[in-house]
């Protein structure tokens, strides 16, 4: 083998000095629905998202918001479910419904040339769903079966238990459910939820891609005439003071345990958010993170471990989750706490911090690549009433954050004695 010394030196790297942020074109339809257009891209394809203030927080009993959104495509005044599905598939499109804690969203992905064929279908789904009883009951029964399968999975059981401990039972932001909840939902509840919550509050359209010239006219034609009631429903979010509890749920025959450790947290609206996001990345937010380096790459306890920040309009959550060998469950939990303590007591070194900063910048650059990704960025601030400047501040914070600030964040937010710890499987 010939010695190849040139390989010892890393090639020069360039700095990511700025990230080019998109500027959406904003206008209103005749009825006041706000539209955010992102016209870019190279392929003749586009995406139309419409969002409603109709997420889980607005429901009065579990699963109602979820099934209302899911069943929008199950039949309308003019089209039955099969006709909707056939038309969408015929034009090679996707019509998805998504339900989050705060919002309901209907998304259409399509080739530009079929936009005019598909908007009428989307309009039906969004404006005139009928929630036919028999079909709805089938969907609910099917979902109940899927739920039972998921309840056999340790990670899902852990998520559910964690939600309940963090928010408390029945809290608007708690997504924990039991099988009996499926028996209490019916088509009438969905119709009522639709009537009371869609078209009440802010409705927004996010349209992205290499857009056809007549896009704005078409949007107005299909969505601009329906009356809307811009006054939002006020949901009372009860104060949450969760206790730092430990819960162990045994699962017979489990060969791995699921662990979930975390707490309620600050969200996007908090001035510390960018800093804790960087801290979180360092801890468990990328492949080379401290949790991965220790618990996977050094100890081999798990296939993967990560820490996550969830942000909702009026709540936030931080948690670490992994599935680990049943025999070393406690050791894995201990190592998680060791890593948290390390963040709180020791300053991160320059080499590691530089790496994390560059990684986050690169990752942010990727998240702004392409029209659909850009639309997600725009949506991510608009919903919170923030401006695109939010991202400029993020980039600034990444560049300027110091080891001391990271430690401060860990001291301020990650007291080990404040954490909820859930283990499902074996101890």
């Amino acid at each position: 083998m010939i010695i190849q010394d040139f390989r010892k030196t890393a090639p020069l790297r360039g700095e990511i000095s700025s990230v080019k942020l998109p500027t959406p074109e904003v206008f209103s339809l005749d009825n006041g629905i706000k539209v955010y257009l992102l016209n870019s891209g190279t392929e003749e394809m586009m995406k139309v998202d419409v969002t409603f203030e109709a997420g889980v927080v607005y429901q009065e009993q579990p699963l109602v918001a979820h099934f209302t959104s899911k069943c929008l495509i199950e039949g309308t005044e003019k089209l039955n479910a099969s006709e909707i599905a056939e038309q969408v598939d015929f034009y090679g499109a996707h019509l998805d419904t998504i339900n989050t804690m705060d919002n309901a969203q209907v998304s259409l992905y399509c080739l530009n040339k079929y936009l005019e064929n598909l908007l009428p279908v989307m309009q039906e789904v969004v404006l005139r769903p009928v929630f036919p009883e028999e079909q709805i009951n089938t969907i609910i029964a099917k979902s109940r079966e899927e739920f039972l399968v998921k309840m056999e999975k340790v990670d899902f059981i852990a998520q559910q238990a964690f939600q309940t401990l963090a928010f408390g039972k029945g809290h608007p932001y708690s997504s924990s459910i039991v099988a009996q909840d499926y028996d209490k939902v019916n088509s009438e509840l969905l119709r009522n939820f639709f009537r009371d919550h869609y078209f009440q509050g802010e409705i927004r359209l996010f349209v992205s891609g290499k857009l056809p010239k007549n896009t704005d006219t078409l949007l107005n034609q299909y969505f601009g005439a329906h009356p809307i009631f811009p006054q939002s429903h006020q949901v009372i979010i009860p104060a949450t003071h969760h206790k730092p509890v430990e819960e162990f749920i045994p699962k017979e025959n489990a060969i791995q345990s699921a662990i979930q450790i975390g707490k309620l947290f600050i969200n996007k609206l908090h001035p510390d958010y960018h800093k804790v996001k960087i801290m979180n990345t360092l801890l468990g937010g990328y492949f080379g993170s401290r949790l991965m380096a220790n618990i996977r790459e050094d100890k081999g306890y798990t296939y993967g471990i990560r820490s996550i920040l969830l942000t909702m309009l009026k709540a936030g959550m931080f948690f670490i989750s992994a599935q680990v060998g049943a025999d070393i469950t406690q050791k894995a939990v201990d190592e998680v706490i060791v890593e948290i303590e390390k963040l709180r007591t020791k300053l991160v070194g320059k080499v590691e911090l530089d790496l994390v900063k560059n990684y986050i910048l690169g990752s942010f650059l990727r998240s702004a690549d392409g029209p659909f990704a850009m639309a997600e960025l725009v949506k991510g601030v608009v919903e919170y009433g923030l401006e695109m400047d939010f991202y400029n501040n993020f980039v600034k914070t990444i560049k300027n954050i110091t080891p001391e600030e990271i430690k401060q964040m860990a001291v301020k937010y990650l007291q080990p004695e404040s954490l909820i710890k859930v283990v499902v499987g074996k101890k």
């Binding site: 010939i2 040139f6 390989r7 010892k8 090639p11 020069l12 360039g14 990511i16 870019s40 891209g41 190279t42 392929e43 003749e44 394809m45 479910a81 099969s82 909707i84 599905a85 056939e86 969408v88 598939d89 015929f90 034009y91 090679g92 499109a93 080739l111 089938t138 029964a141 099917k142 079966e145 899927e146 399968v149 309840m151 056999e152 999975k153 025959n253 489990a254 060969i255 791995q256 492949f287 080379g288 790459e297 050094d298 100890k299 081999g300 306890y301 798990t302 296939y303 680990v324 790496l355 994390v356 560059n358 990684y359 690169g362 990752s363 650059l365 990727r366 690549d369 392409g370 659909f372």
Partner: protein
């Protein structure tokens, strides 16, 4: 249309360059012509374990991920029964870092006992997480050996059993590397706002000095034609009965491939598919029912899998599947339904071209299958499939003797 240029280095490494000026991100994809099908039947799961070891450090770079993350990049890899594929995305100005780290691990991997030890454990946990510790997780551990008697597709990429992974020795690891991780057994694709001249220089600098140490001559046993139906029933602690049926089909390069793929779309792709519309929604026999093909490089499988609705007998559910298959083998498809599945293919392809990494991967895949240029003819091949061709292909595939069936039932 994905434009590209192609050149081959003296050591046999094929390099493909795609230029897309619209993105600040560059993608790099290296595909190695080795997969689980190349494994010793007594040492299965090895190609995948090796993929993990490729991140354990190379001669000049102790940790693969570190310099990449420092350059704002991100990477991953996967192993299939056919190939092992490594890919990364990175801000374009730092592309050379990608060349450095990828060429170093092709040049000389650092073999450490610690890395092997840890990755044996990590993969063991992966085996448990994906194949054992969840309902229906072991399906492919049962189905593959049922369908394949001699071809190495009889085991999944994770391996036949955990023991094979735990017994992996350093000597095996070295031998595997020497045999398969060579420039003439790999294809490099670079995509982004780059030009071929620049990529040629970088490839010459970083990859040309790597010598070939082995030659990969593949000589796999051919699966004999299956003539009798096969059946297996297992009982497990699961909440719903499930049924799996597989039929042997052609390979990825066979002229029947596109018709076979469209047949699976007609049955299982989207809410208007026959399975969903008829058997799930109308007849309520299943809570879900899928149809797909494996897309294997050697002769593959057509798969139907579904969860049977509560109270429905497995036999009745199975008859309903057979009935749908018979319709495909007997009747000609209406024009609108044929157009529908083709339109879906078209939009899937356009969607795939919106992402720089997808484009790089598709080029690499097409090249390893024979010719990168084929990436631009795929849609045409789907468009050319006729109703007659679909019916003929369905007749050929859905023979009772060609089928293996697994009933995966709940205890009690």
């Amino acid at each position: 249309m994905i434009n590209f240029e192609k050149f081959t280095l003296d050591n046999g490494l094929r390099v493909i360059v795609h230029r897309d000026e619209s993105t600040p991100i560059a993608a790099m994809n290296i595909i190695y012509n080795v997969g689980a099908r190349d494994e010793d039947p007594e040492k299965t799961g090895f190609a995948h374990l090796f993929e993990h070891l490729m991140f354990g450090g190379s001669i000049n770079i102790p940790k693969y991920d570190e310099p990449l993350e420092k350059a704002g990049g991100e990477n991953n890899a996967f192993t299939s029964n056919d190939v092992t594929n490594y890919y990364l995305t990175i801000p374009e100005q730092n592309l050379e870092t990608g060349f450095w780290i990828e060429s170093d691990r092709m040049y000389q991997l650092a073999f450490s006992e610690k890395s092997l030890d840890v990755q044996r454990n990590v993969v063991t946990e992966e085996f448990r997480q994906t194949h054992l510790n969840q309902p229906y997780g072991d399906v492919w551990l049962l189905l593959r050996p049922l369908a394949y008697r001699v071809h190495p597709y009889q085991w999944p990429t994770i391996g036949k059993e955990i023991g094979h992974i735990q017994n992996a020795q350093m000597d095996d690891v070295r031998a595997f590397y020497d045999k398969y991780y060579n420039p003439n057994n790999a294809i490099l694709v670079v995509a982004g706002n780059v030009d071929t001249g620049e990529i040629y220089k970088l490839a010459e600098k970083w990859f040309s000095p790597i010598e070939n140490t082995g030659k990969n001559e593949r000589n796999l046993p051919v699966e004999p034609v299956q003539t009798k139906p096969r059946f297996l029933e297992v009982k497990r602690d699961v909440p719903a009965n499930a049924i799996y049926k597989v039929w042997h089909t052609c390979n990825r390069n066979h002229p029947d491939y596109h018709a076979t793929d469209l047949l699976s779309d007609i049955l299982g792709n989207g809410n208007s598919s026959r399975f969903y519309d008829q058997l799930v929604k109308n007849q309520k026999l299943f809570t879900n029912l899928d149809a797909y093909i494996m897309g294997s490089f050697d002769n593959g499988l057509f798969v139907v899998s579904g969860k049977i609705a509560n109270g429905v007998k497995a036999k009745d559910a199975e008859n309903a599947i057979e009935n749908e298959l018979n319709k495909l083998a007997t009747n000609l498809l209406a024009e609108r339904e044929l157009d529908k599945v083709k339109n879906k293919v078209e939009s899937t392809m356009v969607f795939g071209r919106m992402n720089i990494l997808d484009k790089a991967m598709n080029l690499a895949y097409a090249e390893i299958l024979g010719n990168a240029a084929n990436v631009n003819f795929e849609e045409e091949k789907y468009r050319a499939v006729t109703a007659q061709k679909l019916r003929d292909t369905a007749q050929k595939i859905f023979q009772p003797g060609n089928c293996s069936t697994l009933h995966y039932l709940k205890k009690n």
